[in-house]
């Protein structure tokens, strides 16, 4: 019973059509490692064609939310729909960019081979890699400014270059919904610019971008919507409405000094 009540937005039943059209709709999601929920009863509806930042303090469940939405980790409860249908049949419409620290970069492989992994669903078990596939992977590398690195061993890349290769792999999937986990964490300024340019281009083409983001100073420049989380959902909406001092205080608590908040370009509420 409790579960049914939680599958609502602050007690208000959700209008059905907003869910069915959303690229990613999450209802009553709870994920727990051990017996401490990392994400508790979260509802989220990401808008088609939007560019949304998921923000919140460390350990707020940002990455967990993303991974659960992708079925990478199994939730304790909750429902995920992608373009109104269960995730299972919609995976081809989603591309995921994991945190770059999540893999071993000494793995014996070249940059181009990593990008070619993005074509796995097309190739299947028996498909043969041909010149067209390679050309497409190279094109994706070119879009992130890494075409010259195609033949490099991945262990030779800097952190920013690793991140760009991961983005290129997602581009190769040619998806409609892009989910990125901290794409700007620990990257150099040139990489940050390259990545945001690519994301904004995708967004202009009508694709939906959802990124876990940690740098509050760039939220207003990079994104049009925010989703604030601290285990529970704090707020969700257009940057102009939801990126407010009150919401940030609610999400970060004492971890964000008032002085820091004053420096941000916040919505005028």
């Amino acid at each position: 019973m409790a579960h049914l009540e939680l599958a609502t937005d602050h007690g208000q039943p959700l209008p059905d059509d907003s869910v069915s059209e959303s690229p990613l709709a999450i209802r009553g999601l709870t994920v727990s490692y051990g017996e401490k929920p990392a994400v508790f009863s979260v509802d989220a509806t990401f808008r088609d064609g939007s560019m949304t930042a998921i923000i919140g303090p460390n350990g707020a469940g940002k990455s967990t939310l993303l991974k659960a939405a992708l079925g990478v980790i199994r939730p304790l409860s909750g429902a995920i729909t992608v373009y109104g249908k269960p995730l299972r049949n919609q995976r081809h419409r989603i591309a995921y960019v994991p945190q770059r620290a999540s893999v071993d970069w000494d793995f014996p492989t070249r940059v181009l081979d990593v990008v070619l992994m993005g074509l796995y669903r097309q190739l299947g078990l028996l498909g043969r890699l041909n010149a067209q596939h390679r050309a497409r992977a190279l094109d994706c590398l070119d879009r992130v400014g890494m075409a010259d690195f195609a033949e490099r061993q991945i262990g030779q890349l800097s952190g920013g270059q690793q991140q760009r290769v991961f983005l290129a792999r997602a581009l190769a999937q040619d998806a409609e919904l892009y989910l990125l986990d901290e794409p700007f964490a620990g990257v150099d300024a040139a990489t940050e610019k390259a990545i945001i340019d690519v994301l904004k281009t995708l967004n202009r083409q009508g694709r939906t971008v959802v990124a876990v983001h940690h740098d509050l100073a760039t939220v207003t420049d990079y994104f049009d919507r925010v989703f604030l989380i601290n285990v529970r959902k704090v707020a969700e909406g257009a940057v102009a409405d939801a990126f407010t001092a009150a919401n940030l205080q609610a999400a970060y608590g004492g971890r964000l000094a008032t002085a820091q908040i004053d420096d941000l370009e916040l919505a005028a509420h």
């Binding site: 989603i94 995921y96 994991p98 014996p108 992994m117 796995y120 669903r121 040139a190």
Partner: protein, 401 residues
């Protein structure tokens, strides 16, 4: 004798064993590569030790049914079943408890192996004489290998190899990035289970030749050896197959060419020999290459530091620095710079000043990150840019050559 063995002229049994061992080596090396890439090499140990109870039970069952207890196909079936149960135990423990996989492997490996040894002892007392040879499956025993056994080994090896090649893409994907694999709909648990199934098949196929204790060596040493020679996973797979096959063939030939040399252990030793050679002499990742690279780097650092000290009129204390400078003809053994040394020192200092300008100037932001204290600025900037920097520094345009 050894040459005859190599060219398969040492009789029927030796030929069967050599061909079988080569095939086993290829499929073990190729299969083991994916275990190695997935960083789960130890699982092979659990699987192989967990075959032993199955061997004992299969023997007892076949005798009870009135058949020949030593039938290889029957023993392989029994060992496969018990290894599968062992594997499921490891997975259940890892998933349901907070124990790490290595602890689960340790527990399952020793419990199954202990149980297997008990069964073998029971068999030995149950029926004297006929059971001889079962303990040969521990370390392999090729003396009485039959054509029928060789055919089973060859078929099993070839099938395993074909399946590995078919599944290479999902297995590589999961080994590199399991989360991403799941996000595109490839279930890592299922892929892992298939990998383990293939490892199990290789283990069972290898019982007769190398035995269950040493099969781990043939699964793991070839990929580890291959990794020294390449940075591409598909080549690691291919090289591991070659290394495994070569070890199997050479090892079988060596053991056939001398009396009383056990085949399985010799194969493993040959394989280990190839590993040691690679460890030291591989061009990029080898120990020797790494040592030489380190020495060369150290030399560059010392000379640079020494030159900068000389340029600023400071004494050089470190013996290694003085020795290196002297060897290059840049300083006398007492640390006093030579004419050439003074010129090189001035150039080094000039280079240092130019880098400082680059660091301070926003125009050169991208170049600035290339500075590592050793790189000559003339290798990263055009002569025009350097002239522009020299203008900012001021002072004499010509650097003494």
């Amino acid at each position: 004798m050894f040459l005859e063995a190599l060219t398969l002229q040492l009789g029927y049994n030796a030929t069967l064993v050599a061909v079988g061992a080569a095939l086993l080596g290829i499929s073990a090396g190729v299969t083991g590569t994916f275990l190695f890439l997935r960083k789960r090499a130890l699982v092979a140990d659990a699987i192989s030790h967990a075959t032993l109870p199955g061997v004992g039970i299969a023997f007892i069952a076949m005798v009870a049914l009135g058949g020949d207890g030593r039938n290889l196909a029957g023993l392989m079936l029994g060992s496969a079943l018990s290894a599968w149960i062992g594997l499921l135990c490891v997975q259940a423990i890892t998933r349901r408890t907070r124990l790490a996989e290595d602890s689960a492997i340790g527990a399952v490996l020793s419990a199954f192996f202990g149980f297997g040894v008990v069964l073998l002892t029971v068999i030995q007392n149950m029926q004297a004489g006929r059971q001889a040879g079962l303990d040969g499956l521990l370390l392999g025993s090729t003396a009485g290998m039959l054509m029928q056994d060789a055919v089973i080994i060859a078929t099993g090896g070839a099938l395993t190899l074909a399946l590995v090649l078919l599944l290479r893409r999902p297995m590589t994907l999961v080994a590199f990035d399991a989360d991403y694999a799941r996000s595109i709909g490839v279930d890592p648990d299922r892929v892992d289970l298939m990998t383990m199934g293939l490892v199990l098949a290789v283990t069972v196929v290898g019982l007769k030749i190398v035995g269950l204790i040493l099969i781990v060596a043939l699964l793991i040493i070839p990929p580890v050896t291959a990794r020294f020679w390449t940075e591409r996973s598909e080549r690691v797979v291919a090289y591991a197959g070659v290394i495994g096959g070569l070890s199997g063939f050479l090892g079988a030939a060596i053991s056939a060419s001398a009396p009383a040399l056990p085949t399985g252990p010799i194969i493993v030793l040959v394989c280990f020999g190839l590993f040691v050679i690679s460890l030291f002499f591989a061009p990029e990742r080898g120990v020797l290459a790494a040592y030489l690279r380190h020495r060369q780097f150290q030399r560059k650092v010392h000379i640079r530091q020494g030159l900068l000290a000389l340029a600023q009129g400071q004494p050089v204390y470190e013996p290694l620095t003085i020795r290196l400078l002297a060897r290059e003809g840049l300083a006398r053994p007492d640390g006093i710079p030579t004419e050439a040394g003074r010129a090189r020192a001035a150039r080094a200092l000039r280079d240092e000043h130019r880098w400082q300008v680059v660091h301070r100037s926003p125009d050169y932001e991208e170049v600035s990150s290339l500075h590592d204290g050793l790189r000559d600025i003339e290798t990263v900037l055009t002569p025009d840019q350097i002239a522009e920097i020299d203008d900012r520094i001021g002072g004499p345009r010509e650097v003494p050559a």
